[in-house]
């Protein structure tokens, strides 16, 4: 008697597990779909912020290297090439931002947490910001 109740408990739990996992998975799928559908087109420029403040805005159409200097030290090196932005050097030990792929679509970001550097791609519509930054 006890044994059958235990096994039915177990069966119930297994059923709950399957329902729970499928539910979570479906929610994540929807979120991922939204993420990919709202993914921006090719961006026009990148904005660099350090510790929440604006460091500079640079056009993606022009190949150049931007050293991001914090307190007199080159913390990160931003390379803009063929319409993509990539961080190729960092003075932090983990180098996560260096390993990250180059970005080119609007809303994409590269983050260097130890230096609090954020590089984000912007679209065309904010081009007036560009002239302000310059």
């Amino acid at each position: 008697m006890r044994k059958t109740r235990q096994s039915s408990d177990k069966k119930n739990r297994k059923k709950n597990d399957v329902i729970f996992l499928t539910g979570v998975f479906l929610v994540l799928l929807v979120l991922a779909a939204v993420f990919y559908l709202t993914r921006g087109d090719g961006g026009a420029q990148v904005r660099v912020t350090v510790d929440g403040g604006l460091y500079g805005t640079y056009s993606l159409n022009e190949n150049r290297e931007v050293p991001i200097v914090i307190d007199g030290v080159t913390a990160n090196l931003l390379v803009i090439k063929d319409g993509t932005a990539d961080i190729t050097e960092a003075d932090c030990p983990d180098k996560l931002c260096v390993h990250q792929r180059a970005i080119s679509k609007t809303k994409e970001t590269i983050v260097c947490l130890p230096n609090k550097v954020v590089v984000e791609v912007l679209g065309n519509e904010e081009s007036e910001l560009d002239s302000v930054a310059k």
Partner: protein
């Protein structure tokens, strides 16, 4: 469990070794911070076979020690945020008694990433990085699932020895 302190020490050592092994594997998905979370096997195992308090203690100590050994102050901060949030969610789900190891571990994986990116957004004061949240949630689901499978198999085979 007899010799509790000794056992907890062994668990902590095991968790640290998992951290070390993981730091050796280059494991980049183009999105920074996505990791397998091998130590979560130890945390889930302890949650089911030893106790909640003990699992929490080992989880936090592991993060601090691994941070000093293989990381830096920043990695400790993010790992703590992810680790504590993920632990709380796992304990709550486990306490309902309606779910098995796999969903608990999957939720842990997901909320680990939620905690980390939330702290990251606060630190850099830029909330646009939350844009990557859906990708991180899926990564958490997948890694949590793999960890859950491993933990479940270990619990089935050797779990009784610890209780």
């Amino acid at each position: 469990m007899r010799n509790k302190v000794a056992y907890l020490g062994v668990f902590l050592a095991l968790a640290l070794i998992c951290s070390y092994v993981e730091s050796l594997i280059p494991f980049y998905f183009g999105i920074p911070g996505v990791k397998l979370g091998l130590t979560n096997v130890v945390v889930v195992l302890m949650l089911y076979c030893v106790g909640e308090k003990e699992a929490f203690a080992v989880s936090v100590l592991r993060i601090v020690l691994a941070g000093f050994l293989f990381g830096n102050m920043f990695s400790i901060l993010y790992s703590l945020a992810g680790g504590i949030l993920s632990f709380l969610v796992m304990v709550l789900l486990k306490r309902t008694g309606k779910l098995g190891v796999l969903p608990v571990s999957v939720s842990g994986g997901i909320f680990h990433n939620v905690g980390q990116i939330a702290v990251a957004a606060l630190v850099v004061e830029n909330y646009n990085i939350l844009y990557y949240l859906p990708v991180l949630l899926i990564a958490g689901f997948v890694t949590g699932f793999l960890i859950g499978v491993a933990a479940r198999e270990i619990i089935v085979r050797v779990g009784e020895k610890f209780s």
